[in-house]
């Protein structure tokens, strides 16, 4: 067995799950800096459903936690000041993978993308896939959800 594999396997599934549980605790507390602190400095970020279609370009939720993820999380909390989450399942393995089923929701007070605020509330099931390194830091975050559900709950009927 290589030394690298010994290092990777030194963290247990339970330890990996605890890091991600803490991530959602901080998200619920609107502690975005704390969320970022749980990630590596160059952590990858991907929200495939996040697409804002402009006339000349498409803004996508792909990049790094520091440059794309943090602004999205901060923007969401600004638009939905009571943004919260309810974690339903956390499945982790010893290799650093953690999968989370979580409902995220809140009441809109500011514009979000092309959705203007109407004071409406949404709650939508999400699934997140995290990859943690051997130090217990998140090195990638990927999230999937049905944006149509959010738009319709907020009263925004245009597909965009």
């Amino acid at each position: 067995m290589s030394s690298a594999s010994v290092i990777v396997s030194s963290r247990t599934a339970a330890q990996n799950a605890a890091v991600v549980t803490e991530f959602f605790d901080r998200y619920r507390a609107h502690d975005v800096d704390g969320m970022v602190d749980l990630c590596t400095i160059n952590a990858d970020f991907s929200y495939p459903p996040f697409e804002v279609w402009g006339k000349q370009r498409v803004l996508r939720g792909d990049g790094k936690v520091g440059t794309v993820g943090k602004p999205i999380w901060t923007g969401l909390i600004n638009a939905f000041p009571n943004l919260s989450n309810v974690v339903h399942s956390v499945d982790a393995n010893d290799e650093g993978d953690v999968v989370v089923q979580v409902d995220i929701g809140g009441t809109q007070q500011q514009p979000w993308g092309l959705v203007l605020p109407a004071g409406k509330t949404f709650s939508e099931p999400h699934i997140f896939i995290f990859r943690l390194n051997s130090d217990g830091l998140i090195e990638s975050v990927t999230g999937y959800w049905n944006n149509a559900g959010i738009s319709q709950q907020l009263g925004h009927m245009e597909v965009d």
């Binding site: 499945d91 896939i129 559900g149």
Partner: protein, 144 residues
Amino acid sequence: MNSRSPQKVVSDFLDDFAGRDIDGALGNTAEDINVNVYGLGRHDTGRGIIRTVLADIVEAFPDLIVTVKRIITAGNVVTTVINVQGTQAAPYAGAINQEKHVDLDEVWRFVVAEDRITQIDAYWCQQQLYRRLGVKRFDQIAIV
């Protein structure tokens, strides 16, 4: 009796789905499977619901290509990131056929027990799907 690993059960299911073999895919599921397809708002128990979900996709996109991009196994839970591609040839989820091409990343989470899939939670963005199918409004899906 040889029992397959949870990952093998899920791989067999997805291989059958990719091969448009609905009966084969269902053979990997428990009779009382619990199914949640969030993009379609479908939540039900039993093979009938997953048969309908798979058959509707295969019928609407007969040139379907399902590519498994990532498989994560944690005990008896297997999470897959898949890419689904196809050209619309029949109405789907209320959207009329405009022969648009769809290329969509999705996550399907499976729970496996005793060689059978007992739960499927499928996540995709219906807004992305409708956008690619040329739908303009959620309250007028059949109008383009």
